[in-house]
């Protein structure tokens, strides 16, 4: 750069640094999110039981699940709750969940916009200090089961099919222990039975608690994770008879400890085997490449997923593993703390490139803290947008950083062909309300084809956000039923080509976000396409299925065909 070019650059930058004049561009008609909490009759609050001791568990829960437990075609809701803590906790005392304020809650979707609390009948109030939830039909009986993670022993609730659940944890052998966070059901060895992977946050208990932050009144803070030891993650292989075997160490995942908070899976290299991604707090993210023989190899550093583009770690929390740029390769988005940036990794045929800067995500997210998040096509234009439930981890952050807030509004970023635009301010007043958001689940509560959002807020009311839809765009919800593969079809990869030739990709999963479980059905926004020219499913069994000329605006249930028929 010579002096003249340099001077011109300086001039251009000076001009650019001046406030831009508003441009009169008509905004497109976009759906908005409406707070439907009161009318839904859901009055859940995740109670963390904050103490002056700043026990780290207080600020970390909790998750929420959207799942259809009674098979009526409507998504029900399950919220995970904390437990009562003493201030300070006497030695040897466990968190107390006996008070109904601390119960986990199951709400039945009545189909008319309201929900009914069925916790007691269902028998799913939980125990221990709750964190997260995973959903999957682990015994292939056609009914969605629940796995609840805790600080303490975890719980596997078997769905009995009559509106009740049975705690089968001990029999199944999946209690785990310590401090679990997010979990996911995935058939990692493609044997037709859902396995279970559980992230753990750290080796912590009340006796190990420390004073962190300045010793001034009000300034005590929650400790940095590095104050405590990393924890190993659990991998439970499903034996197909209602029991699981702990294969954590031998499969390779349990041998690599971390500060695990978020988990998601997808087949990043398209070799037919689901790979596991774990978002860790302040240490490198982990990508476990599935070798197809029951073992995994950690490849995050090699593949460009472990760090940001400068080789720095970030406080990884919520996560999603999906194709945001419609190139057929699954990308990764991970939430982080304020003064960092949310991380977006573009998949370049099995290798990842950090694209937070070029997508606009870095600029938008640098002052926010993101927990529950997901790439959802909320406006059905065919591009997956990004919704993030936000809030800082420190309830007193404004004392040290007045420009940072503990309570934050939600963030909605519209995907404009791979670049994100912040549309939060014009997407409904409900998004602008500051909250201590944590877990968030995504799915279509009213089956109108426009995805809704449910957010669990720490020490505040949970919020039901209804997507108004109504922009005339078309959609398709694909509900998979496995036969050779696991009954849910979890892990099936779906390719959709609209009549315009526009192509999209998705995967059947309930995992992702933060400590939460999402609608199992795969949602596609089709824009103005009224029909889907090709719908192709690659089932975990390897069976390929192709449907043609599928009408839009429907919930399409697809059953996995027998191997011979699929070939024909």
């Amino acid at each position: 750069m010579n002096r003249r070019t340099f001077a011109l650059t300086m001039l251009a930058l000076e001009r650019a640094a001046r406030p831009a004049r508003a441009q009169a561009v008509a905004p497109p008609h976009l759906p908005v999110f409406r707070d439907a909490t009161v009318e839904s009759r859901i009055a859940f609050q995740c109670n963390g039981s904050p103490t002056s001791q700043k026990y780290l568990i207080e600020t970390m829960p909790g998750g929420v699940a959207m799942f259809d437990y009674d098979g009526d075609g409507l998504l029900d809701l399950y919220f995970v709750n904390g437990a009562k803590l003493d201030d300070p906790m006497p030695p040897g005392k466990a968190p107390d969940k006996s008070d109904p304020r601390f119960w986990n809650r199951l709400y039945h979707n009545n189909g008319n916009g309201t929900f009914t609390d069925v916790t007691e009948k269902a028998g799913v109030r939980g125990h221990g200090y709750g964190m997260g939830v995973a959903v999957g039909d682990y015994d292939n009986d056609g009914r969605a089961d629940l796995y609840v993670t805790n600080f303490g022993k975890n719980i596997l609730y078997h769905n009995n099919g009559d509106g009740t659940f049975t705690d089968v944890t001990e029999k199944a052998g999946v209690a785990g222990g310590g401090w679990s966070s997010s979990a996911c059901f995935v058939d990692y060895d493609c044997d037709g039975h859902l396995d279970l992977i559980v992230t753990r946050y750290m080796e912590w208990d009340f006796a190990k608690n420390l004073w962190c932050g300045p010793r001034e009144p009000g300034y005590r803070g929650y400790c940095h994770p590095e104050s405590f030891k990393k924890a190993t993650h659990f991998v439970y292989h499903n034996n197909g008879d209602g029991t699981f075997t702990d294969v954590s160490r031998e499969c390779g995942i349990g041998a690599a400890p971390g500060y695990g908070l978020g988990i998601a899976f997808n087949d990043y290299d398209q070799d037919g085997w689901p790979d596991i991604l774990i978002a860790n707090d302040n240490v490198p993210s982990q990508c476990f490449h599935n070798l197809g023989n029951g073992k995994f190899e950690e490849v995050a550093l090699r593949k460009g997923l472990a760090y940001d583009e400068d080789g720095r770690t970030f406080s990884g929390m919520g996560i999603d593993f999906n194709d945001y740029d419609n190139d057929g390769w699954s990308d990764v988005v991970i939430g982080a703390l304020a003064n960092e940036k949310y991380a977006l990794f573009g998949n370049r045929k099995g290798r990842f490139e950090y694209v937070s800067g070029q997508s606009g995500l870095a600029r938008i997210s640098s002052m926010h803290s993101g927990w529950g998040l997901k790439l959802i096509d909320y406006d059905n234009d065919g591009w997956k947008d990004l919704f993030v439930a936000q809030g800082h981890v420190m309830d007193n952050i404004s004392l040290s950083s007045p420009s940072l807030k503990y309570l934050e509004p939600m963030l909605l970023l519209r995907n404009r062909r791979g670049a994100f635009e912040d549309v939060s301010a014009r997407s409904g007043d409900a998004l602008g309300v500051p909250r201590a958001s944590r877990g968030a689940a995504f799915g279509d509560l009213d089956n109108d084809g426009f995805p809704d959002v449910v957010v669990s807020c720490l020490n505040g009311p949970a919020v039901i956000l209804r997507n108004s839809g109504g922009n005339g765009n078309h959609w398709l919800l694909v509900n998979t039923v496995g036969t050779t593969s696991n009954r849910d079809g979890i892990g099936a990869r779906i390719r959709v080509v609209g009549e315009s030739g526009f192509e999209q990709h998705g995967i059947v999963t309930t995992a992702g976000s933060y400590q939460s479980a999402n609608d199992k059905r795969v949602h596609f926004g089709l824009g103005q396409d009224q029909r889907v020219k090709i719908l192709e499913i690659v089932w975990p069994s390897g069976i390929r299925q192709r449907l043609e000329n599928v009408a839009s605006d429907q919930i399409l249930t697809v059953k996995e065909p027998p191997r011979e028929k699929a070939r024909a």
Binding site: T5, F6, P214, D310, G311, R363, S400
Partner: protein
């Protein structure tokens, strides 16, 4: 930025001290006063000319001609320090302190020498000794605060700079260092307030503008960040030809905004000004990588890694670029070096 500022400050303190009149103790020793004086003048002249080794020789001769003129030891210590001969710098200052244990200047010279030799605890002790004699001594407070900052004793450093500010409200160093510490602690609003205070004391403080740019960047206001970096650049462009920070900081901001071409321009300006900065070459390499000029990118990154073998960023990016180019062997080697370096620094931090 964080690590270099205190060293810069230490040198500045040293230079400031050199201008102060030193008390001449009454020591009865036979000497050739004229020769000693001449050699001392020659030494000081060489110091001003940047010929530090020659300065040290002349000053030693001055001392040899008249050992009783032991204030020369302070000049000698400074010459050795600037010649980066830290053991001799420490030796000269120690001899002075032995002769005059109560002199603040001697303690400060010794503390500075320890600081430059990275003997931080010793530097802290000597700064403390100087402050026992004069608790409000500005240079001693700055030195103590800087050493505490380098030792990671941020609360102590904060308290020291607050004391400096109480005693010397118009000394820009106090709010500047407070701003640096707050920035380090991610207390960006507080940092911004301190840098604005520096500008009230000295409206031409390019360092304050530069750091305000960093604050605005951290607060997500890229327009204001750009504006402040540009102001800092205007202030240093002619008058401070060696100051490279705002160029590098603006390059980094432009990279975040996806403008690799402009970023490269500022990074190369930074590298021209300070060719010993690993960060400048890293930023240039990163910009080149984004522009698809991979061969040049690797060259810049290799230079960066060579300049500072403990700087992990260039190794990581090198690994990524080699991987993109399909050179898996070199990618693996660079990433392995990066991994080991990261683990070492993580252990050290703990």
């Amino acid at each position: 930025m964080v690590l270099k500022q205190p060293v810069f400050v230490a040198v500045a303190i040293l230079l400031a001290l050199s201008g102060q009149a030193l008390a001449q103790p009454a020591v009865a020793a036979p000497c050739n006063l004229i020769q000693s004086s001449e050699r001392r003048q020659a030494g000081l002249e060489a110091l001003r000319g940047g010929r530090y080794a020659a300065a040290a020789t002349a000053l030693q001769e001055s001392l040899d001609a008249c050992p009783g003129q032991h204030t020369v030891l302070l000049d000698l210590s400074r010459a050795h320090l600037l010649a980066r001969d830290f053991p001799r710098a420490i030796g000269a200052a120690e001899r002075f302190v032995e002769l005059e244990p109560g002199a603040v200047d001697g303690r400060l010279a010794l503390a500075n020498a320890y600081l430059m030799a990275q003997r931080l605890q010793d530097a802290l002790r000597e700064a403390g000794a100087a402050l026992k004699t004069d608790p409000a001594q500005a240079s001693a407070l700055k030195l103590k605060g800087n050493v505490e900052y380098l030792l990671g004793q941020l609360d102590n450093a904060l308290s020291t700079f607050v004391t400096l500010l109480e005693h010397h409200p118009n000394d820009e160093e106090g709010p500047y260092m407070l701003g640096r510490i707050y920035f380090q602690e991610s207390r960006i609003d507080h940092a911004k307030g301190q840098f604005e205070r520096v500008l009230k004391i000295n409206p031409k403080s390019y360092k304050a503008y530069d750091n305000l740019g960093l604050c605005y960047q951290a607060l997500g206001d890229t327009e204001m960040a750009t504006r402040h970096f540009l102001t800092a650049i205007k202030l240093v462009d002619k008058d401070h030809p060696d100051y490279d920070w705002p160029y590098a900081n603006l390059a980094s901001l432009l990279l975040d905004q996806g403008d690799a071409e402009k970023a490269y321009g500022f990074a190369s300006r930074a590298a021209n000004r300070n060719p010993n900065s690993a960060r400048n070459f890293y930023l240039g390499g990163k910009a080149l990588g984004k522009l698809g000029k991979n061969d040049l990118c690797i060259n810049w990154l290799e230079r960066s890694a060579a300049l500072d073998p403990n700087y992990p960023e260039p190794l990581y990016l090198m690994g990524r670029v080699y991987s993109q180019l399909g050179n898996e062997e070199k990618a693996k080697a660079a990433l392995e070096k990066f991994r080991v370096l990261k683990e070492t620094t993580s252990r050290q931090r703990k």
